[in-house]
Symmetry: C2
Amino acid sequence: MTTVRRRGGADLTETIKRTALELGQEVGYAKLSIEAIAARAGVGKHTIYRRWPSKGALLLDSLLSLGESALDYPDTGDVVADLRKQIYDAVDLLAAEPLSPLFRTLVGEAQHDHDLAAALNERFITPQSDKTAARLEAARAQGQLSPDFDLDLAMAILSGPLYFRLLITQEPLTHAYVDRILDALFAGMGPRP
Amino acid sequence: MTTVRRRGGADLTETIKRTALELGQEVGYAKLSIEAIAARAGVGKHTIYRRWPSKGALLLDSLLSLGESALDYPDTGDVVADLRKQIYDAVDLLAAEPLSPLFRTLVGEAQHDHDLAAALNERFITPQSDKTAARLEAARAQGQLSPDFDLDLAMAILSGPLYFRLLITQEPLTHAYVDRILDALFAGMGPRP
């Protein structure tokens, strides 16, 4: 407990998140417990429960704090290049080894855990949708996007095909696949006028 | 056992599938067991295991056999109308009450059950992708689709945004939402030339 007392709150939070990811990768989501994370991090389990209501919330936080920068959009003036860069980073973080199995099972758990589904949306999807819409809105103002494109759908249109591969076909999410999706979405399916 | 002996194989298969869906809706995926399905259907559990390797495989089959017709594409000559009709039917079956919670948790389970993920792809996604690509290929041949549209991506592009709402944001999948997605995908995101 000496170690714990010496560590500051932010430090301790980081230690717990890092431990949750380490242990999660070792044993998988289903077998991961708050007790085991607490034991390895050298803290009491109430220290964890004071910060996170569940292991799902803790793991989600841990994954996202690895990717603070991956979740921001650059603005170089070229919207397709900027989307590509952001999507590569997000895919490399959440949809590639070593973290993708943990992220996939977390989303799987959200199918019957309402609190986790809500946390996933509040902590990740909604902020990310807002950033995506803002970046696309800037592009639309500069004529780089169809003037009537439905921005509220942007997150679903851009991310949906990638989640489809991650969660449904479970094939590897390569940069080449991201490129093909972006090409198809920007060209549109309809015939050229 | 008299009842069982009198029923033919196809009949029995239908009874088991119907029972699996009924019980699945009552208790949810996690609490559903082959034993309970067998008991309610009035058969031995080996009768079920001879037909399906797991409850996931049985449930998937049960859901899909409700929707044989919903999974076929009409061909009226108007590709967008035909896609819309097929997607409405599929969404009404799998992404609306009463079956959507069961379908969502089934996909959730596939995140850590490799056999179930494989069954989902073999029994549902791959046949559906093939039908989608065939319908779009006919449309492309008639000039209703961009000549360079990447048909191998069709299933991910069309279904991905819908799975995103079903599995991630978990908002209701309405026909109006399907319409907005189809409009956006056919128009494309890029600026009009």
